[in-house]
């Protein structure tokens, strides 16, 4: 009982500080169709990792933990166009939003980027290459991200973990290339459907 009260007051605090959006007017929330919003966080009962959705508040030196974030705004200023280059070399343009997590964004669009540790900096399966014009626009990786990148096969100068890249307006046009880590990828451009 007390725990629920704490969670609900935490939710209020985070909404007031704009760490979390106000879901009450969102049609997805009202129809219980929201998969990543505040209500999910509250149900899980833990704000330990401050899963921020709004880009204004970032904790832990820019580390991104857990859930995908989506801005609720329909504002065209919030659109960020990205291009994924999949493992067979196919270019896949995606119209994304400020606040989107590059790893979860890829998965939502059927691009084969695994995230086995679920964005907790405990694996390197979301390893991507960032194109040179945008690489320097990213915040410096945390030491923990560098430690995980060290384990990634085919590490390059422009390697980053996708789960740590949160889209912002300056990243408009960013290109994220999936490393050809397997020796046996589809050569005919066939893109498997998401599971």
């Amino acid at each position: 009982m007390a725990a629920a009260a704490v969670r609900s007051s935490m939710g209020l605090t985070l909404r007031l500080s704009r760490a979390l959006p106000d879901c009450s007017n969102c049609p997805f929330h009202r129809s219980n169709g929201c998969v990543s919003g505040v209500s999910n966080l509250q149900r899980r009962g833990s704000f330990d990792s401050f899963r921020t959705i709004n880009r204004h508040l970032q904790t832990s030196k820019g580390l991104y933990h857990g859930e995908e974030g989506r801005s609720n705004a329909e504002d065209p200023d919030d659109v960020v166009n990205v291009v994924y280059v999949d493992r067979s070399g196919q270019r896949i343009p995606v119209k994304a939003k400020v606040g989107d997590n590059v790893m979860y964004l890829a998965q939502r669009h059927g691009i084969e980027l695994e995230g086995s540790c679920e964005a907790s900096l405990a694996c390197s399966t979301c390893h991507v290459y960032v194109n040179s014009s945008h690489f320097d626009k990213l915040a410096e990786p945390d030491e923990r991200e560098d430690d995980m990148l060290d384990m990634a096969p085919m590490l390059q100068e422009n390697s980053r973990l996708g789960c740590q890249i949160i889209l912002k307006p300056e990243l408009e046009g960013i290109e994220l290339t999936l490393p050809k880590v397997t020796r046996n990828f589809y050569v005919d451009g066939h893109v498997p459907k998401p599971h």
Binding site: S116, S120, C123, T125, D150, T182, N184, H195
Partner: protein
């Protein structure tokens, strides 16, 4: 165009789907299954697992204080819940059903059963009380059924670990971690209680070669450096020439070596000096040492120490070789853990097995001279690598298999009975498989028992066959 349907093929609605069986439900098994189901809408996958519970080394190998690594279980659970994927636990392939019987029942069999054996040191005294394979020690604190009775003796001050990979560091960390940290993990209760009584205060992590050849990675070394109430004790002379070699090292090796150098040679600031002097536990790498003999305490016929041969290095980098100098050194200790590598075992004599590399001979996951037989994970490439490595390896095997199905190299037009015929065999043999929803019941019990004591889960000590029936009565 009229399709000729050969005899033996039922009407298109029945029995036409390619049926694949996977042996082993660790990361290799599940990632292979995931890709197969994704790549072809008609494939049905059955995963067989020796233990009553799935997930292999994710559950029984990954250290209790690395819970994020275990998040991958959510991905595997999604796969298991797919309608075209079935899990059958408590089925020992090789004993309860043979590989040949599986090959008859399925269009393709993928062997993903990993490495349940370990490399031995091959030195006198290896069988003494007080000596354990790291695989068994890890199995003990992680609740692996076969290791429940290990009862390691933690009554001596010094423990020596042979091997300097991440498993060795996991063992060192578990031996030295404050109980306050361990008791909030999914470490098993018996292990927690034993560690609470542990007298071990000093852990040496011993390797044949030098700092630049260690097999561990920077994250795990950082965890040792940051371990509360523990100070590093390294031998500065071991790092001669290492600083000069730094500039030529690739980035991962460079960052790791820099950290070790700093820890070994740099004089710490006042605060860290004080922390170290107050620490009641100590750990350190010892380089250029190979085990020669485990020394026994004559009265109790148990471990009293270890004799180490002193090496020097010939060559440099990955290919450097340890060469004996003729000198030996004795170290007093009551616990010796050998962490020099896992090893796959041939579960069926018909498999083309390379005993030296301990892998099933294969090309791109296709087992040599055995149509319809594939392998993925450590069984395919050898027992090294993290989950990401195994994932890529399994994806490769899945693609080989899908390619064979697509191109007709593997004939999937013939009807195969799949799990139906295997289920009949198992029933005749008195084997009762555990389904995935059975596992989910066990999972819920473990989670709720864990919650009661402030842990993520309290692992049940599940056992095979008869034992599992008791658990189902919960």
């Amino acid at each position: 165009m009229i399709e000729i349907i050969s005899s033996g093929v039922l009407s298109p609605g029945e029995g036409c789907s390619p049926k694949v069986c996977i042996v082993g439900s660790g990361p290799a098994g599940f990632y292979t299954a995931q890709q197969l189901i994704k790549a072809r809408q008609d494939v049905e996958v059955d995963i067989y697992e020796r233990l009553p519970v799935p997930f292999g080394l994710v559950r029984f190998g990954v250290a209790p204080d690395h819970p994020e690594v275990k998040n991958v279980i959510n991905t595997f659970t999604q796969t298991a819940r797919q309608s075209r994927c079935s899990f059958y636990g408590n089925v020992d392939v090789g004993t309860d059903v043979s590989v040949e019987e599986l090959r008859q029942a399925y269009h393709a069999v993928v062997l993903s059963y990993g490495a349940e054996g370990n490399r031995t040191m091959g030195v006198p005294g290896e069988d003494l009380a007080g000596v354990h394979a790291a695989k068994d020690f890890v199995g003990w604190y992680n609740g692996l059924p076969s290791c429940r009775q290990l009862r390691p003796d933690l009554s001596s001050e010094t423990a020596v670990i042979l091997g300097q990979g991440n498993v060795a560091l996991d063992v060192a960390r578990v031996l030295l971690s404050p109980l306050d940290i361990l008791k909030m993990t999914d470490i098993t209760q018996p292990a927690l209680e034993a560690l609470a009584e542990s007298q071990v205060r000093r852990v040496l992590i011993v390797g044949r070669r030098g700092p630049v050849q260690v097999a561990c990675t920077v994250k795990e070394v950082r965890e040792m450096v940051n371990l509360p109430n523990a100070r590093p004790e390294m031998v500065g002379a071991d790092f001669e020439g290492v600083a000069e070699a730094l500039k030529d090292l690739p980035r991962p090796r460079k960052r790791l070596t820099e950290l070790m150098l700093k820890t070994a040679l740099e004089v710490p600031g006042e605060k860290e000096q004080q922390r170290r002097s107050e620490a009641s536990h100590a750990w350190g790498f010892r380089f250029f040492r190979s085990p020669v003999e485990i020394l026994a305490d004559p009265e109790r016929s148990r471990t009293a120490g270890i004799r180490l041969a002193v090496n020097r290095l010939e060559g440099s980098g990955e290919g450097a070789r340890a060469v004996l100098t003729g000198e030996v050194e004795d170290v007093t200790c009551g616990l010796v853990i050998s962490s020099i590598g896992y090893k796959s075992l041939p579960i069926d004599p018909s498999l083309p097995f390379d005993s030296r590399k301990a892998i099933v001979l294969n090309n791109m996951g296709r087992v040599q001279r055995a149509a319809g037989l594939y392998c993925s994970g450590w069984l395919k490439t050898g027992p090294t690598g993290v989950i990401a490595t195994t994932m890529n390896n399994s994806f490769d095997t899945a693609r080989s298999l899908v390619e064979d199905m697509d191109l007709g190299t593997l004939d999937v037009s013939v009807v195969k009975p799949g799990s139906q015929s295997v289920a009949a065999l198992l029933e005749k043999r008195g084997v009762k498989p555990v389904t995935f929803s059975d596992w989910e019941k066990i999972d819920r019990v473990e989670l709720s028992r864990g919650e009661a004591v402030g842990k993520p889960r309290e692992k049940l000590s599940v056992t095979d066959h008869n034992g599992h029936r008791q658990e189902m009565a919960l």
